[in-house]
Symmetry: C2
C-alpha cells in the first residue's frame, strides 16, 4: 500500500473501516442500548451517534473506528472469521470512548470532533458517570462473550486498562516537571507514555481479535507489539501536526502545542540535542514572558513566542528527530506484522489501515 | 448475636473485621503498590492509609472493611479456607474505594471520614484518574487470580460494576424529579436504586468469596441475595440517621438530608401515604421559601423548615415505614443466610457483621 497513490490508499482504508464498522455496530449499539437511559444518552453523544438532546444525529462526527477494525482484522489475520472478534471490538471501542471522555475532563478540553465534549455539554459529574458506565460495559461485554478464549482476552484487556490509566498519569505528571536539568522528561519516558496511552489499546485491539480467533501466542504477541509501535508512531505524527500542522486540516491553531507549552517529543528531543538553538529554546521555555509577547493568564505563549519556539525546535533537530521516531516505529510495526504468519488478505488490510492512521505524513 | 448485648455484638464484629483485614491487607497493599506513584498516593489517601502528602498515617480514618470481610466469610461459609477469597476481597475493596471517590466528585462532597475527599485535596481531574486506576486495578487483580472459578468471578464482578454505576445514575436522576404527581420517585424505584448502589457490591462480596471457595450455585446466589437485602436495609437505616440521627454520632447536621432536600425513603413513603400530614409535607417541599425560613442560595432548607418537615414525615408515617423497610430487608437477608447450607462458625460471624452494619438501629 506504500507504493499506491494516496487516494487509492485512503479509499482502501475507508473500505476496511466501513466493513468492520458494519460488522461490529449491531453489537456495540446493543451494549450501549442496555445502559441506564441517561448514561446511554451521554454514551451515544460521546460516540457521535446523537446530539446533546439524545436525537440521532447522522451528521455528527463519529470516530474512525480504528480499534474495532484492528480487532476484526486481528481475527481475520489469524485465519478466523472476523465475527469471532466482535466482543473484543466492542470492548476496545467502549474503552476508547471511556478514555476520551475522562481525559477531556482531566485536560479541560471543551471541544472534540467539532462538538462540545461530554463534560462541557452535560457537566463534570455526569461525564465522570458516563465514563464509568462505558468502562464497566467494556469489561462486562467481553467477560460475557462465549468461547474458550474469553478468560485470556479479559486478562489482556485488564492489563491494557492499567496501561492506559498509567499513560494518562504519566502525561499529566509531565506537566509539572522542568524543561531541563535532571528532572526533565527524557525522550524515552515520553515514548513509554505514548506506548501506554495510545499504543497499548491499539495493540490490545489487534491482539484480542487474534486471541478470540484462536491464534497461537506468538501471533497474538506480534500483533500487540505492532499496535504498540503504531501508537508511538501515531503520537509522534500527532506531535508534528500539533506544531506544524495546517490549522485548516487539524482544526487546531498554528503552533498549538507550543502555545499550550506541552512537553511533546519534538520539544523534548530538541532540548536534549545541545547546541545554541537548544539553549535558546530552553531559555525561551523557562522564561515566563518574552519580548512583550509573554504568556497570557492561562500560561500559554502568544504568536511570536510560539513561532520562535517552533523555529528553534526545528533548528535544534527536534522536527527531524520526531519524523525519524515516527518512521522507526512505523517500520517496527510493519516488521512485527511481516514476521507473523498472517493471512495475506487481512495483512494487506492491516497495512492499508496503518498507512491511513499515520495520515501518510511519514 | 441478636440476643447478645450491644457491647458483645460490637466486639464480635470488630474481631471479625480485624481478622479479615489482616488476611486481605498484604494483597491489597501489594496491588495498590503496583500503581503509578501518583495514582498510588491518591489511592492510599482514599483508603485512609496515608495523608495528603503520601506520608503513612495510622491515625487516619480507614473504612470498616465490611466488603473484604464479607468475601472472606463467604468462602468460609462455603467450607473453604478464607484465603481463597483474598483476590475477590481485594477487588471489592478497590471497587468500593473507586465508587466513593467518583461519587464524591459527582455529589460535590468535600469531606469523608473527617478528612477532605480526594477531589478536594488533589483536584477533580486527578481524582477522576485515581478512581479509574482503582477501577482498572480491581478487575485486573481478580482476572489474574489463579483457579478454575476466576472467569465466573470476573463475570459476577462486572455485573456488579454495571449495577453500581446504574444505581448512581438513578440516584442522580432522582434529584431532578418532582416530589409529587406521576413523575414522582416511587418507593420501589428508590429500593431498586439502593439495591444497585449499595446492595449489589455487598452481595457480590459475599458471593465472590463463596464462588472462589467452590460453593454450589445456590449458595452463591443466596449470599448475593442476602447482601442485596442488607444493602437496602442499610440504606433505610442511613436514611433514618440522615434525618433523626444524633449529629454527635453521625458527624452530620440535624435533619441534614431534609436541609439538602434529598429524596430519601422516609420522605418518599410519607408523601405516598396520603392524609393531611403528607399534603402539608408536599406543600412545604414544593414551596421554594417558607415563613421567612426559606432555602438559602444553595437551595437547602433552614432550621425551622427542616424541623417542620421532619415532624411531618414522622406524622405521615415515613419514619415507621422506613424502620419497617429496614427490618423487613434485614429479616430477608437473615432468611437467605439461614436457608443456605453454611458452616456454623462463619454463619455466626456473618450474623455479627450484619448486626454491626445496621448499627443495631433496627
Amino acid at each position: 500500500m506504500v507504493d499506491a497513490s494516496d487516494a487509492v490508499g485512503a479509499a482502501a482504508a475507508a473500505g476496511v473501516l466501513a466493513r468492520c464498522r458494519a460488522l461490529v455496530r449491531p453489537a456495540l449499539a446493543d451494549a450501549v442500548g442496555g445502559l441506564h437511559p441517561w448514561t446511554g444518552e451521554m454514551a451515544a453523544f460521546s460516540l457521535g451517534w446523537s446530539d446533546v438532546a439524545g436525537t440521532p444525529d447522522p451528521g455528527a462526527s463519529e470516530g474512525k473506528g480504528v480499534r474495532q477494525a484492528l480487532a476484526v482484522l486481528g481475527a481475520e489475520a489469524a485465519g478466523a472469521d472476523g465475527r469471532v472478534a466482535v466482543a473484543g471490538a466492542v470492548a476496545v471501542e467502549l474503552v476508547h470512548a471511556f478514555s476520551l471522555l475522562h481525559d477531556d475532563i482531566m485536560d479541560g478540553d471543551a471541544m472534540r470532533r467539532q462538538r462540545e465534549t461530554v463534560w462541557k455539554a452535560y457537566g463534570t459529574g455526569p461525564a465522570v458517570l458516563a465514563g464509568d458506565a462505558l468502562f464497566a460495559l467494556a469489561v462486562q461485554s467481553l467477560a460475557e462473550a462465549p468461547g474458550e478464549h474469553t478468560g485470556a482476552a479479559v486478562r489482556r484487556l485488564c492489563d491494557t486498562l492499567t496501561d492506559l490509566v498509567r499513560g494518562q498519569a504519566e502525561d499529566l505528571c509531565f506537566e509539572d516537571r522542568p524543561w531541563t536539568g535532571p528532572g526533565a522528561v527524557r525522550p524515552d519516558e515520553y515514548r513509554a507514555m505514548a506506548e501506554h496511552k495510545t499504543g497499548a489499546l491499539l495493540g490490545c485491539a489487534a491482539a484480542l481479535g487474534a486471541l478470540l480467533g484462536g491464534a497461537p501466542e506468538a501471533t497474538v504477541t506480534a500483533l500487540d507489539r505492532a499496535g504498540r509501535h503504531l501508537g508511538v508512531a501515531f503520537q509522534a505524527v500527532d506531535d508534528l501536526l500539533g506544531i506544524w500542522g495546517d490549522p485548516a486540516v487539524t482544526g487546531k491553531p498554528v503552533h498549538g502545542d507550543l502555545r499550550r507549552r506541552k512537553k511533546t517529543y519534538p520539544v523534548l528531543s530538541a532540548l536534549t540535542a545541545g547546541g545554541p538553538a537548544a539553549r535558546e529554546l530552553a531559555a525561551l521555555l523557562e522564561t515566563p514572558g518574552a519580548a512583550g509577547d509573554g504568556p497570557d493568564a492561562a500560561g500559554t505563549h502568544g504568536d511570536g513566542t510560539a513561532a520562535r519556539a517552533a523555529e528553534l525546535v526545528d533548528r535544534a533537530g527536534g522536527r527531524t528527530a520526531t519524523l525519524e521516531e515516527a518512521r522507526h516505529h512505523l517500520a517496527a510495526a510493519r516488521a512485527c506484522l511481516h514476521d507473523a504468519p498472517l493471512t495475506p488478505g487481512a495483512a494487506g488490510d492491516l497495512d492499508a489501515l496503518v498507512a491511513f492512521l499515520l495520515h501518510r505524513a511519514v
